[in-house]
Symmetry: C2
Subunit: 217 residues, 2 copies
């Protein structure tokens, strides 16, 4: 019975990694679509988000099924409950990548943000991609050093996010209202994407060490 | 044992209602602070958000404890898992009410949105408050008619949210960048607040009827 359970936990972990892989692809393509006004790539991200949603719901069903059949307690129970939460955050990260792609799509053939902010958004996108890759690696390895790196990347994203508002609200900002709206939303989507990654990293760190780091993002 | 379990489920339900009550107070005060530039009320919402966070985490611990001790299966298991999800959404709704209060606070003594959009935001706030009240009643009664009403209110919020963008992006929009940013964020917070309520309503409806209505918001 114990062996079956361990086998099922590995299945849960594998499925989480598969979903995280899909999220990684989504944010990579969304960022590229956003930076380069690539409408075909934006459409692809939008069309494929349902895969993340389905995989996440299927994982939830598996986790509930394991709870019902295996009746885990203590740490085993927390692993399964955490899987439900990680799955919900991954699904939401997929939605946020989709929103970034939608901004690229609506503004095509124009770019979403004015020239003065392109470097900032390039860095935001690059950091979100790096975070998604570290998250997949963290789910695979439970190497807590990666959780620390994700938190540091998130701190940098928060700085950049604040900087975007400083720029938009400065006297030098010449953007039209549509630029202001899109810039505000895009920056917020990048920030929330990273927040969810930090939340997942905390769950994994908690499972690995027993210490919960702060409250949920 | 069965009786103890039923008693514990009632405890879970009571706690969810308590958190929903706190969320209801938060969105009422945040909306009033937002509409009337009431900085003291905004501060109160911000200062009290931790109560929602703590209550939500305490409920999560209770739910995990019940899973460990009572080992529920079938519908009983789904009730406890749903409680975890409802708790996460309520916590997030509290955060969004806090964000609305923060906008009021930052702009004080000015109002957050220009005159031309005040009626729209008055309606958005009124609908979010109504939704929060219906959610508390739904958690109390499992009266599925309320879930339907929450979905209808959410449809109206989506319309208003789209209308905000139409206004901001129209030629007639004379708002400064700060108005555009705050209006965009405020509208998005109201819309997400309602989305979480719809997601909770779906969980309750699923538990009451066995039919899951669409995918998670």
């Amino acid at each position: 019975m114990r062996e079956v359970f361990q086998q099922e936990l590995r299945e849960v972990q594998e499925r989480l990694i598969e979903i995280a892989d899909l999220v990684e692809i989504a944010i990579e393509n969304a960022t590229l679509a956003f930076n380069e006004s690539n409408v075909a790539l934006a459409d692809q991200v939008i069309a494929e988000d349902h895969k993340i949603d389905s995989a996440s719901h299927a994982l939830d069903e598996l986790a509930i099924n394991i709870l019902a059949r295996q009746q885990p307690v203590a740490r085993d129970l927390r692993i399964v409950v955490s899987a439900l939460r990680i799955s919900a955050s991954l699904e939401r990260m997929g939605d946020l990548a989709e929103h970034i792609a939608q901004l690229a799509r609506y503004r095509f053939p124009d770019k979403v943000v004015p020239k003065s902010l392109r470097d900032t958004f390039y860095e935001l996108g690059t950091l979100d991609i790096a975070i998604a890759k570290k998250l997949t690696a963290l789910l695979r390895s439970e190497d807590i050093k990666l959780a620390e790196e994700i938190r540091n990347d998130d701190d940098r994203i928060d700085e950049l996010h604040a900087g975007v508002f400083d720029t938009v609200l400065s006297d030098g900002w010449k953007g039209a209202a549509v630029d202001t709206v899109d810039t505000t939303l895009a920056s917020r989507y990048h920030e929330r994407f990273a927040d969810h990654a930090v939340s997942i990293a905390k769950h994994i760190q908690y499972l690995a060490t027993g210490d919960f780091v702060g409250s949920d993002a």
